[in-house]
């Protein structure tokens, strides 16, 4: 048990609490553990149950796209059933909760085993009786099984019309910076492998004390922090390796690494390595114009179309409009509010008015519209089944549309009511 506490610094009270529940039978019927991502919930629970030699099933609900999969996984694990790939049969086929309850009692020595469900918030997406069934599993089966739910949301978010029996609750709070520092120091053996020079614990600690304050502002997720610290450690060591700086010279090392850290905070959570930076969007010529037309249709109101796209429009209308626009606060600008739906007719009308060379209306153009939808540059705003009066929205932001417009030599600002009045 000490080993468990040692490998999870900062979690001593939670471990003690869980130990109190599971040290000796009878175990509590249901325990609900809440804590943010990578706060050690699952690792501690499975470590604890393993150390206490309690038979348990650990199922991740992300995997359970239907309740059938969930039931069969739990039964397979508890009974130690191995799926034969040629037959593929589970321990028992369970289509609904009653089957599961019935089958659970059939397993030998099932008394005193524990079912651990990760991502328990996903239970709400399954049938309504599944969550209630698991919380009251002991009453239903008359077998002493316990259920441990691991989740990132508070239990209050589960309340619905069914009366749920309240489980015991354990909260895993967010790690503080000191705790994180302590935990990341445990990563030293890995860091030792990474670096080409001989490093000691003190050097690694000073690296982390530089690293953590920068990233702690943007990210509290332990696994992400660990990933980042591993990723940058080699770069940190580089000046020492090149014998430009001494390992003790932590201030100079910090000066070297600080800009790299700052750049890295903007790509947190993204793991992309590319040999070809700055890859733009390649579109055929008319597709570009269609996309621009779609953007204009999405971010202008249709009442302004006449004024924007026709050569001879009434002057009177324009002045009245002008005054209205000037009073509009910037939060109400069309470009700030988000795309509005438009019909295909309007898209084509704008397309033909902004396109300088006249092209006949043909099927290739229509196909372009649907391939823009397929590329997720436009999205279908109307019912997918109805064929007439289709409505679309433009999914592209202003920067992208500006670069596209620049490629074809078109001034978008001129045709946006937000800009043409200011």
């Amino acid at each position: 048990m000490d080993a468990l506490s040692k490998s999870f610094p900062g979690r001593e009270p939670q471990i003690a609490q869980l130990l109190a529940y599971f040290r000796a039978a009878p175990y509590p019927p249901a325990v609900y553990i809440r804590g943010g991502p990578s706060s050690g919930k699952c690792a501690i629970v499975s470590g604890l149950l393993g150390a206490l030699r309690i038979r348990h099933a650990l199922v991740d609900l992300v995997e359970c796209y239907s309740s059938k999969v969930l039931f069969e996984l739990v039964l397979n694990q508890l009974s130690g059933h191995r799926v034969d790939p040629a037959v593929g049969a589970p321990f028992a086929a369970c289509d609904h909760l009653m089957d599961f309850v019935g089958q659970l009692g059939r397993i030998e020595d099932v008394d005193g085993s524990v079912v651990v469900l990760r991502h328990a918030e996903e239970l709400r997406k399954l049938e309504a009786n599944v969550l209630a069934g698991f919380l009251g599993l002991r009453q239903l089966t008359r077998v002493r099984v316990s259920v441990v739910l691991l989740s990132e949301v508070a239990f209050e978010k589960y309340y619905h019309k069914l009366n749920l029996s309240e489980p015991l609750k354990v909260h895993f709070p967010q790690y503080s910076m000191e705790q994180l520092l302590h935990i990341l120091q445990l990563d030293f053996p890995h860091a030792e492998q990474l670096s080409a020079v001989q490093v000691d614990r003190e050097f690694h600690r000073s690296y982390l004390s530089v690293f953590l304050p920068v990233f702690y502002r943007a990210c509290r997720d332990l696994s992400e922090l660990r990933h980042m610290s591993r990723k940058h450690f080699a770069q940190y060591c580089q000046p020492v390796l090149d014998q430009q700086l001494r390992a003790q010279d932590s201030l100079a090392l910090w000066k070297r690494i600080a800009p790299i850290f700052n750049a890295a905070t903007s790509v947190l959570y993204l793991r992309v390595s590319s040999k070809h930076p700055g890859q733009g969007l390649e579109l055929p010529f008319y597709s570009k114009y269609l996309l621009i037309a779609a953007y204009l249709a999405s971010y202008n109101s249709s009442t302004d179309d006449k004024r924007l796209f026709m050569k001879f429009h009434g002057k009177k209308r324009k002045t009245r409009h002008d005054i209205e626009r000037k009073n509009k606060p910037s939060a109400h600008l069309n470009t700030q509010i988000g795309p509005k739906a438009f019909t295909l007719d309007r898209l084509l009308a704008i397309f033909y008015s902004i396109l300088e060379d006249k092209v006949g209306f043909n099927n290739h153009l229509l196909i372009q519209v649907s391939s823009l939808v397929q590329l997720q540059l436009l999205s279908l705003a109307s019912d997918e089944c109805s064929l007439d009066e289709r409505k679309y929205k433009c999914n592209v932001n202003f920067e992208t549309i500006q670069t596209i417009a620049r490629m074809v030599g078109f001034n978008v600002r001129k045709f946006l009511t937000d800009f043409s009045h200011m």
């Binding site: 991502p37 991740d60 992300v62 995997e63 796209y65 239907s66 059938k68 999969v69 069969e72 996984l73 397979n76 191995r82 799926v83 034969d84 790939p85 040629a86 037959v87 593929g88 049969a89 589970p90 997720d221 696994s223 992400e224 990933h227 947190l268 959570y269 993204l270 793991r271 992309v272 390595s273 590319s274 040999k275 070809h276 890859q279 733009g280 969007l281 390649e282 579109l283 055929p284 010529f285 008319y286 597709s287 092209v359 006949g360 209306f361 043909n362 099927n363 290739h364 153009l365 196909i367 372009q368 391939s371 397929q374 590329l375 997720q376 540059l377 007439d388």
Partner: protein, 676 residues
């Protein structure tokens, strides 16, 4: 009824078609015809070339990708290794590319490849089932897959991760590769949970993903939240831009010296326009060329002569009968040819088949020679002008080709402008260009062959390159001398001035020499180009090799609205009946179909159409006698038959989407289409 279907109960039996070597309708219809044989052998060859080229173009990218996949699980991984393949938006081209990728992964990396397409994977359940069934060796084919399920006594619902895990323990621990060719079309939610599921099993099952992304890499970031993106480790791989692909296909296959079929300037222009303006798809481009080829060859047996070998021409001509000769005589350029001949030969050409065949042979061989030179000289001209400022003749060979086949290129303004620009070229640049030309010629000219004009040209170019080099040497020598002189006279200002002056004079002398040589070279080149880059229409029987019928545009680009408008406005065009023929587009005839009358009438209204007025107009045309009664202003009774016909016509127009009923004015309909 065979034994297979002998059954006590009545039922429906599914028979799967047995796969036979495919014979298309075209094969059955035309395999006798000589032109079809020529066409099919040429097309098979070109298509094979196209596939080979495509394969080789993607090899470098694919080998990088395969390396990545192979090495992805050598170290312990915490995220799923993911290859993001930026393919560009040329959708129809992807299928073949991913199919070959799948094959290569199977051969080189791991036999376990799952190929998931968005149509089949609407939700997580079906995605998992399809993926697992592909891994454990059930067939890709949907129907066979159902069969296999029965054979293996596996239920579809039992295909889940625990099955996959226990199956994997029995295998040889190879990688599990998942290919998703159309990332954008996938439901992002489904993919998210898929990634989360796989990442929770990553410790036991070494998965690798390959995503095909058509737009750009940021799509990957915008479609997933943080806790999903941190589960995948993305490496980006990029295909060549589709325009490079197109140029390579054109230059390597269709604008090649060995391809007898030539697209004319207008048609090639149309095809490139479709490519650049509409779809970016090379696959479509090649299909368009195929269509043009079919159109070209179906002219008749004359096209069987569209070959690049002399002996083959001889064989084909030997087999020609009188009808085939007549087919050749129908070519337009034959007329000019006949008229240019003296009288006696004219008669012979038209009546004597054997004499005619000999004449055709001579002329066709001349065209073959012309085509070879055309390609060689176009490439030379391309080497000369492709990097000129402003590129008046275009940067690509295909642009030059288009121009050369549209008009006489050496007479064009662009050509003159290019040569003016060439006169400003520095010596090094010109020398480099000449060397390029020499290289191109070396490729095409057979050194061992007897003296040809091409060979003379080659020799002349080599000579010019050498002369240019020599002036180079002379000049640099003089440079050194003048530099020394300058240094020697540094003491005295006057002397220095003089030295500089003389130096500049000397330089201008060499400069002059170079200028003179340059003029000579350019004049020589221009003379050669003028001789060989003539428009093909000057040659008799050029139609056999060049196809420039722009009327295929209507087949290549479909215009459905215009087609419907034409059908309704002028039914004679499609019906070809005598009763509907009209001279003026605005004329309405009572004998036309009802819907056409209603349509033609509705064109005269504005946005709203009053149904009663419309009916009256309809009546006037269908039943003109009634009009006289109308003049006495009395309300007349409408014949119910006519009204029913009118109602039906209106309903049909509504069905076609020309009008819709209005809620604001109950007796009006709204017009939805506008001309122009």
């Amino acid at each position: 009824m065979g034994d297979e279907t002998a059954s006590v109960s009545k039922g429906i039996f599914v028979f799967k078609p047995k796969k036979k070597p495919q014979h298309t309708i075209l094969d059955e219809l035309f395999s006798e015809n000589r032109w079809y044989q020529t066409y099919i052998s040429l097309w098979t060859r070109l298509n094979q070339d196209f596939e080979d080229l495509t394969e080789s173009m993607f090899t470098s990218m694919t080998s990088d990708l395969l390396n990545f996949v192979k090495t992805s699980h050598q170290n312990d991984v915490t995220e799923i290794p993911t290859a993001a393949l930026l393919t560009g938006i040329n959708m129809p081209d992807h299928d073949a590319q991913f199919a070959s990728l799948k094959r290569q992964v199977k051969e080189d990396v791991s036999p376990y490849v799952a190929f998931l397409s968005s149509q089949d994977c609407g939700n997580v359940k079906s995605l998992m089932e399809i993926m697992i069934s592909q891994f454990i060796g059930l067939s890709d084919d949907r129907e066979e897959y159902e069969d296999d399920l029965v054979k293996n006594t596996l239920k579809k619902s039992s295909l889940n991760m625990s099955l996959l895990e226990s199956w994997y323990q029995q295998t040889e621990n190879e990688l599990l590769v998942v290919i998703i060719p159309d990332f954008e079309s996938f439901n992002a939610k489904v993919l998210q949970s898929f990634i989360l599921i796989i990442s929770s099993h990553l410790g036991k099952l070494p998965f690798v993903f390959i995503f095909g992304i058509a737009t750009c890499i940021s799509t990957l970031h915008t479609s997933f939240p943080y806790h999903v993106t941190m589960k995948i480790n993305v490496h980006v791989f990029k295909c060549e831009p589709s325009i490079v692909y197109l140029n390579q296909v054109l230059e390597g296959i269709f604008l090649d010296i060995f391809c007898p079929f030539h697209l004319g300037g207008k048609v090639l222009d149309l095809f490139t326009e479709i490519f650049l303006f509409y779809d970016f798809s090379v696959q479509n481009f090649v299909q368009n060329i195929k269509f043009a080829m079919m159109e070209h060859f179906s002219h008749g047996n004359a096209m069987a002569l569209c070959l690049m070998e002399k002996t083959a021409i001889k064989n084909v001509l030997a087999d020609f009968n009188h009808e085939d000769c007549e087919n050749v005589r129908h070519l337009l350029s034959f007329r000019n040819f006949v008229e240019s001949e003296p009288y006696e030969q004219r008669i012979k050409l038209i009546t004597d088949d054997e004499y005619f065949k000999q004449a055709v042979y001579d002329k066709v061989v001349a065209i073959q020679r012309y085509i070879k030179r055309l390609h060689v000289f176009l490439r030379c001209l391309h080497a000369l002008v492709y990097d000129l400022p402003g590129s008046p003749l275009g940067k690509n060979l295909r642009e030059l080709y288009t121009l050369a086949l549209t008009k006489s290129i050496t007479q064009s303004a662009e050509y003159r402008e290019s040569f003016q620009l060439l006169e400003f070229q520095s010596k090094d640049a010109l020398q480099e260009k000449l060397r390029r030309i020499a290289d191109i010629l070396a490729q095409f000219v057979n050194k061992g062959s007897s003296k040809t004009k091409l060979r003379d040209f080659c020799v002349e170019i080599d000579r010019l390159v050498r002369i240019l080099q020599n002036t180079d040497v002379e000049e640099s020598e003089k440079d050194e001398i003048s530099l020394e002189e300058g240094l020697g006279a540094m003491v005295d200002r006057k002397a220095l001035k003089q030295a500089l002056f003389s130096r500049s004079k000397q330089k201008s002398k060499t400069q002059d020499k170079y200028e003179k040589l340059k003029q000579e070279i350019l004049a020589y080149l221009s003379g050669q180009f003028e001789e060989y880059l003539v428009h093909p229409s000057t040659l008799p029987f050029y139609e056999i090799f060049f196809f420039d019928d722009i009327s295929i545009k209507n087949h290549i680009i479909g215009i459905h609205r215009a087609a419907i408008h034409n059908a309704l406005n002028d039914p004679h065009r499609y019906l070809q009946c005598k009763c509907c023929a009209i001279s003026n587009k605005r004329t309405v005839k009572a004998l036309m179909p009802d819907i056409c009358i209603a349509y033609k009438l509705h064109l005269e209204w504005g946005k709203m159409i009053n149904l009663y007025d419309w009916l009256m107009g309809f009546l006037c045309i269908v039943d003109p006698q009634e009009e006289d009664d109308l003049s006495d202003k009395s309300k007349k009774v409408v014949d119910p038959h006519v009204q029913a016909r009118f109602t039906q016509a209106v309903a049909e127009l509504e069905y076609l989407g020309f009008i819709k009923s209005s809620k604001r004015k109950t007796d009006h309909v709204i017009r939805l289409t506008w001309e122009g």
